[in-house]
């Protein structure tokens, strides 16, 4: 009888006890850097591999003009606080230059007028914020592949790093990075126009990156420099972007 009671208690208790044990265990587990890196990041790594395997050329859906958001909200920084940036903005970016350098054969710099004179692409796409909201807008700019063709990537180059004019918190400059699959993707553009107007300061003037198959934080605003790099370890804190470094957001943001 006593063994039966023990077994009864054990089995009945497994359900309740097990779940409460698990719940109290999630916070300590999640805050263990090793567990987060080894276990909790594995899903994102797998998603990245699978997406590249089955759809590296897939195009993001494009929408018609009637499907656009009536108001496209801004978020993140909406006015970089650097004096240099504000001076350039007051001159309508006439003296702004985009540097393209790093592991390239011919480093180049482009004025806004030069970018506008290059072949352009317009696309009406959906912008998905990591927080959960979406907005549909029209973006116009230079396909990044054209710029990469002009500067010529060296064979060691694996990533493109976008250095920006804006800062968060303690003066760390915003930056982001993408792989070459996204770098050469036809919908990846350096946008200078939005909704048939000049790109506003709130949305990243004079140019922002559009990398349509990833979440909003990858779409770097206020881009000043594009650097081709062999790896991301020596840039920033090494995780490939400002939010990746500071808050643990995943570098691959296709989900």
């Amino acid at each position: 009888m006593s063994t039966l009671l023990t077994r009864r208690k054990l089995i009945t208790g497994l359900g309740l006890g097990g779940s409460s044990l698990m719940l109290s265990g999630c916070d300590p587990l999640g805050s263990s850097p090793k567990f987060e890196e080894m276990v909790l990041s594995s899903g994102n790594w797998l998603s990245y591999r699978v997406h590249r395997l089955i759809g590296s050329d897939a195009l993001a859906p494009e929408y018609s003009a009637s499907e656009m958001s009536p108001v496209f909200r801004t978020n993140g920084n909406t006015m970089p606080d650097s004096a240099d940036y504000q001076r350039m903005a007051s001159e309508n970016f006439a003296n702004w230059q985009l540097q393209v350098d790093g592991l390239v054969s011919t480093p180049k710099s482009y004025s806004l007028a030069e970018l506008r004179n290059m072949p352009a692409r317009s696309q009406i796409t959906r912008h998905d914020c990591v927080e959960g909201w979406s907005a549909i807008g029209k973006w116009t700019g230079v396909p990044l592949a054209l710029l990469l063709g002009e500067v010529g990537l060296k064979p060691q180059a694996r990533y493109l790093v976008f250095h920006c004019a804006d800062t968060f918190g303690l003066g760390t400059k915003y930056y982001e990075s993408i792989d070459l699959v996204d770098g050469y993707h036809p919908q990846t553009i350096i946008a200078y126009g939005m909704n048939d107007e000049v790109l506003s300061v709130g949305h990243g003037a004079p140019i922002r990156l559009r990398v349509e198959r990833q979440l909003g934080y990858k779409h770097a605003k206020y881009v000043m420099r594009i650097e081709a790099a062999a790896d991301l370890a020596s840039i920033g804190l090494g995780k490939g972007g400002f939010w990746e470094d500071s808050s643990g957001y995943d570098w691959y943001a296709g989900i």
Partner: protein, 286 residues
Amino acid sequence: MTANQTTAEDLSRRPAGGDLVKRHRLSTRVWHWTNAVVLLIMLMSGLMIFNAHPRLYWGQFGANPDHAWLEINGRNTPEGPQGYLRVGDITIVTTGILGLSKRADGRNNPVAFPAWATIPSDYNLALSRRWHLTFAWLFAGGILAYGVWSLVNGHVRRDLLPSRGELKPGHIWGDIKHHAMLKFPTGEAARHYNILQKGAYLLVLGILIPGMVLTGLTMSPSMDAIFPFLLDIFGGRQSARSIHFILAAGLVAFILVHLLMVLLAGPFNEIRSMITGRYRLPKEKS
């Protein structure tokens, strides 16, 4: 040797009340307990992800300037801060649970879902996404493997699909009455799922869980590029996000009823059957 162990002479008769019979096969038991853990992690990390933007929309797009059909938020009133749930035009004050709650240390927690319901407890979108999007692989892989295996081994056909007779309104109504009176089947009849059980399990296996996976995939901008038809099925990314939330609420409702039924039907026997696979048929009432 106990009295209920099957002996050679027992084999000739049909199982009766009091017999210990084989009830759940190994694949069902493994999937059940894996899912119990995975689903709880998915639900709680999902609620934290919701906290990052506690508004739901219909259609392709939806953000703060657009109309949200559901919102869980906090606001300041003359009487002090207040949490509320709004669905359409109906607003319910939910201070203490939704929109505004207390942390374990007593401080105000101005988020949609309270700390005890989320993984992690304190606001952290990046970490909740890592829990959610890693365990999503187990969740999706689990339903795919279990679903295919249950079709192959006959579990769906033999145990879950209702017979023509069971679908007669009279039979369904009779079963509803039995449930309402808490009269559970005994003896030989208890070896099989009743029609309400079959309906509930088919709904979970065939609609709720696959729906969760597919609406989850639809929220991925990369998956929308790979499988654009996902957007057509659900009517856009923001609709998919809304449906994801509604299906999750459906799963929570199922789990609550399921746990209640386990308690009412005899938790020891029920939980044992899901661990060892063996179930003692309830004795016929004389």
